[in-house]
Amino acid sequence: MKLSDVMSAMELHVFAEVAFVIAAAAFAAVVVTTFLRRNREPFERARLMPLTGDDEVIDR
């Protein structure tokens, strides 16, 4: 028996629909944890990284 026979018999396109629900739940979880107030500070230094000033216009 081939894998396609097994998948056809199991109607596995439901997988994709289940994945959609999981993705939506994961998204909600990521939103909540990312924006918890206690996680604010660690990202402050990272915000400033592009502004290191090592590519100023060279004044001749």
Binding site: E11, H13, E17, F43, E44, A46, L51, D54
Partner: protein
């Protein structure tokens, strides 16, 4: 423990090279776009020449602006910002140069092969297999150089721009390889391993994600780096950028099937594509808001600085396009918009507004830094901004109007329930004034590019005799520092901080996000038999029909004609029975098209006599007054390559197409016999003699076969019943 301080110099020469290539290919790509815009406004601009006919030039335009203009801009941004964010010179100067020259060689190869009609036909993946192999090799060089630089960085933390670059490198590798798996049938000829529905699915999984991971993620990286630099303010919210990144990477990859609503694609895949497309609105607008709010307190600078003007308009277009994209993915909206100019307007709002203006903003910001001289003319840059903006608005307003006009006319019924505009040409002629407005808008945009070119040239001329190479210092990233604890944070966000210092782990998670989402769609699509119910009366193409199909592909007919009738009343009344998945099982590649500049051809077989086709292709205006189709006189002169016919059939056999053994062995002879029969019928109908070995006859053989299989007998479903929807 004292930290060892290291000194290093950035490689800006490679950035200058990519930036100049961006300008040159930007001009070439948009000029080709102007030529094809003129061809749609008036077909005389096809000049009766095969190499510049619309079907061959359109893919050259899209490839040039995506992979040459945007591609070189991406590399400009990556090479400039990565070195500074990682505090390291690129890992290998040699790899940088090989990458640059290899990529330019690929672009030149595209500029030669596409006008010659050497194409795989799949949108944004037209280039034939030798060029695809070269793309893969050069992309690997780029990836090795990038990750080599990451490995020897002096900054532990990877800034958000770098995450977007990593996602681009990982995802494009997967997309390019999986959508270009082919069986080779000649030096510049191949057939995809997928057929029909599955080929369409793979193509639009690729096509939409090419937009995602070539025209979006690297440009978001660009936004997250260059916007704070230009505004001299940090990004509004780093946490929002985390959300933006992961949701975009995970969700985008599912959205491709929305390009195939109401087609023969199974409905579950189509619905899934729609749902994820609608969800994409959230991360996209999160990114847009993050970009615009970065300018809080700095809006006064926008009035003075052309760089910020370009960035603000670009990000606004990003917001507009990413609102419109989910809107267009909703099935009921898509039923109106699909195959019309609405999609073209949407694409150009994104390409000219978002991609183009991000590039121009970046270039104006880089010019004084890379050429170490003051920008030659700020006023010229301001002028570029304004005529570019007006050009975009003229272009998109005209083409939105054209798309809506077209869609509404196609589906309009009169009071008796018949089509209000049964003749397709009526709906084409109505658009011509809007096509001329597009020509004006496009010309203004190109004029802006020329002004940029003048500014680049004059700034370059003011460069120093020898570029200064500032030496930078930073503590070495020892293994202890690299593996050190993250800078605090609790829960998931704390883990994310750790990943941001662990590039390998980070890249693996990006690959997992891309792969998992892809597999949830791809595996059921390929492994569930009921997705494509077979039809007993559908047989492989005859050798001559296959040769004709190859000519259809080479001439780019699929750029204007669809072969997919949706189960919508206005379509079945206009074109005939709706398309079934089982009708395409031998179609390597699928040719459903994405645009109807001309009518659908799925049921054109037997609709007209052979002679009508001869006259139509020699002079479309002789059979359809006011037609904007190019003439194809060379098809009546050029002969079929009979050896290629044999190679083509053998390649199809390799792909599993069930040709009888003697068909493959005698393909050329069988094709010649059918050619003589059709040529004889053309003469009987009062047409010219001597066409039996020409490409014209092969193409007619293919067109007369289209859509006729299901008329042979009553369709018999093997496997699951029903049309799979």
């Amino acid at each position: 423990m004292t930290e060892r301080i290291e000194r290093f110099v950035y490689d800006d020469a490679i950035v200058r090279m990519f930036m100049l290539a961006t300008l040159v290919w930007g001009l070439v790509g948009t000029l080709v776009g102007l030529v094809i815009a003129l061809q749609l406004a008036n077909p005389m601009f096809n000049f009766g020449l095969p190499w510049v006919s619309f079907g061959r030039l359109r893919p050259l335009h899209t490839n040039a602006v995506i992979f040459a203009f945007a591609g070189n801009a991406i590399f400009t941004a990556v090479y400039y910002s990565s070195q500074r964010l990682l505090k390291a010179r690129m890992w290998s100067d040699l790899l940088s140069r090989l990458h640059f020259w290899g990529w330019q060689g690929i672009i030149v190869a595209a500029a030669i092969t596409l006008p010659l009609g050497l194409t795989q036909s799949k949108e944004y993946a037209e280039l034939e297999w030798p060029v695809d192999v070269a793309i893969a090799l050069v992309w690997v060089l780029f990836a090795v150089n990038f990750f080599g630089t990451v490995a020897r960085r002096r900054e532990r933390h990877l800034y958000v721009a770098l995450w977007f670059y990593i996602a681009t490198i990982v995802a494009i590798t997967v997309l390019h390889v999986l959508n270009n798996l082919v069986v080779v049938a000649g030096p510049f000829k191949s057939y995809p391993i997928y057929a029909g529905v599955q080929d369409a699915f793979m193509q639009w999984w690729y096509g939409h994600n090419a937009v995602a991971f070539f025209l979006t993620t690297p440009f978001l990286g660009m936004m997250y780096y260059f916007l704070p630099k230009a505004a001299n303010r940090p990004i509004f919210s780093y946490r929002l950028s985390i959300l933006h990144f992961w949701t975009l990477v995970f969700i985008y990859i599912w959205a491709g099937p929305h390009h195939l609503h109401y087609t023969a694609l199974p409905a579950w895949a189509s619905t899934l594509g729609m749902l994820f497309s609608v969800m994409l609105w959230m991360p996209s607008w999160g990114g847009m808001i993050n970009g615009l709010l970065t300018l809080r307190g700095a809006w006064h600078k926008v009035t003075e600085d052309p760089v910020l003007k370009f960035f603000v308009v670009a990000i606004t277009f990003y917001g507009m396009s990413t609102f419109e994209g989910p809107l267009l993915s909703i099935k009921s909206v898509n039923a109106l918009s699909h195959y019309t100019d609405w999609t073209i307007a949407h694409v150009h709002a994104g390409a000219l507004g978002w991609v183009g203006f991000m590039i121009f903003g970046m270039m104006y910001w880089l010019l004084p830094r890379l050429f170490q001289a003051e920008l030659w003319s700020r006023r010229l840059a301001e002028l570029h901004f304004w005529i570019g903006t007006v050009g975009i608005l003229l272009y998109i307003v005209a083409i939105y109007a054209a798309g809506l006009t077209q869609g509404l006319m196609w589906r309009a019924f009169d009071e008796t329930g018949r089509l209000a505009y049964p003749d397709f040409i009526e709906t084409t002629v109505r658009l011509i004034p809007m096509y001329w407005v597009r020509v004006i808008g496009g010309s203004l945009y190109i004029a802006g590019l020329v002004l940029l070119g003048v500014n680049v040239l004059m700034t370059w001329r003011a460069r120093p005799a020898r570029y200064a190479e500032p030496v930078h210092e930073a503590p070495a990233l020892t293994s202890a520092r690299a593996a050190g604890p993250a800078a605090g944070g609790a829960g998931w966000a704390g883990w994310h901080r750790r990943w941001e210092g662990l590039p390998l782990t980070f890249s693996v998670w990006v690959a997992v996000a891309v792969a998992v989402a892809s597999l949830f769609e791809i595996l059921p699509m390929f492994l569930i038999q009921s997705n494509v119910p077979t039809i007993a009366s559908v047989h492989p193409y005859s050798p001559l029909e296959l040769a004709g199909r190859d000519i259809y592909v080479a001439e780019g007919c699929n750029n204007c004609h669809s072969q997919m009738i949706r189960p919508i009343r206005a379509e079945t009344m206009r074109y005939g029975e709706y398309s079934k998945p089982g009708e395409f099982v031998y179609d390597h590649p699928f040719l459903w098209g994405s645009r109807r500049i001309g009518p659908d051809l799925q049921r054109v077989g037997g609709k007209y006599p052979h002679l009508w086709h001869v006259r139509h292709m020699q002079d479309p205006r002789s059979t359809t007054p006011q037609s904007i189709m190019p003439a194809y006189p060379w098809l009546a002169r050029d002969h079929v390559d009979w050896r290629a016919v044999g190679r083509g059939v053998r390649a199809q056999v390799t792909l599993g197409v069930p040709y009888p053994r003697d068909t493959a062995a005698n393909a050329a002879a069988l094709a010649k016999t059918q050619g003589q029969q059709i040529a004889g019928e053309i003469v009987q109908q009062g047409g010219p003699a001597g066409l039996e070995e020409t490409k014209m006859v092969a193409l007619i053989a293919y067109l007369q076969r289209l859509g006729t299989d299901i008329k042979q007998t009553t369709a018999t479903a093997a496997g699951a019943g029903g049309p799979g929807r």
